[in-house]
Symmetry: C2
Subunit: 207 residues, 2 copies
């Protein structure tokens, strides 16, 4: 093969890889993580073998599809952990995670799902959550976070955040912001009734 | 036709009708309200014409599929409105609606969706929500419900409740119960940090 042909093939392979990742993100977003590889191959207009050539396992595909978002989550948690005031750090993390999840529902779904084989993805996420748990302990010891708050309440809040639907991602983020403020007030040991971000008209309320 | 044949046909028609309703409930539950009639016909193993013979429109199908649940919602709200203490009434409604929605995600989805043509369903639901709004006003006037609470916050809370996933309906109800308690504490004008229902292990936290 000439160099030109090889370059061409490589560029094709790269295109395929990117297309598979884009299709996978969209599919996981809309239908959850159970969408089979063969369906992702079909939508990306490649053969199943091509998908497996790029991603040895479905878990590898999952991990790579959301690599960037997971890294952003870790960065947010690191920022929260580094805050002088653990309660402010905790609030920052919840607010930012909810905003990121509101913008990318596929990732939100991946983040709050237990996909049995996705060990790499789960390990990365769990590292992030363990850091967050450390922050939770500090915010409880300092006083502002209620004593009966548990890590499961973060799962609960993040899954609940996923349920919020709105006509546009912008409206979803706005609704999610109000929701985050409500949840954070419910998590406070001695709640202060701070003003809430504005309410957003939601599907249910359009009448 | 003999009477026997006619009876047989009628019984067939009744079976079809029930099967279509069951399939529709399950489909709306799993995939939202956009599942087309032809797909519901396919899964119920009847022709599209048969579906339309029983339900003139998709909206009629939707309304009938969730008739019982909508009636239960109305009954819950009526009970809440009748309570002497409007805040207690309000809490009862939120707790019961969330529990009902946690048990039947298809209905939850229908309840919090704006399906353009489903006028009957939406009208019934909106009547229920208007009653609830009345209760909101009374709970605000009496003091316990925060002033900046708006009807959209009920939508927000109900949609968020829909996002909660767990391995079994029982676990989902248990998680939803804790979530309802958190939301209600966030809605209080002068929150009292009452104990929460127990936390539930969720997909995210199984590790």
């Amino acid at each position: 093969m000439t160099t030109q042909v090889i370059t061409h093939l490589r560029s094709d392979a790269r295109d395929n890889r990117e297309r598979i990742l884009a299709v996978a993100r969209a599919a996981f977003a809309a239908e959850g993580l159970d969408v089979p590889i063969r369906e992702i191959a079909r939508r990306a207009e490649v053969g199943v073998a091509t998908v497996y050539r790029h991603f040895q396992t479905k878990e590898a595909l999952l991990a790579e599809a959301f690599e960037e978002q997971l890294a952003s989550c870790s960065a947010v948690v690191a920022e929260g952990v580094a805050a002088d005031d653990p309660w402010r750090g905790f609030c920052l993390v919840i607010e930012r995670l909810m905003e990121m999840h509101a913008l990318d529902r596929g990732f939100a779904r991946a983040f709050t799902s237990q996909y049995p084989g996705a060990a790499d993805f789960a390990a990365d996420r769990d590292r992030t959550l363990r850091l967050l748990l450390e922050l939770v302990r500090r915010a409880q010891e300092a006083g502002p976070l209620r004593d009966d708050f548990v890590l499961e309440d973060i799962s609960l809040a993040l899954m609940a955040n996923e349920g919020i639907r709105a006509e546009t991602p912008e409206l979803r983020v706005a609704a999610s912001r109000r929701f985050a403020a409500l949840m954070l007030q419910s998590f406070q040991a001695n709640p202060v009734r701070a003003p809430l971000p504005p309410a957003v008209r939601l599907p249910l309320s359009r009448r």
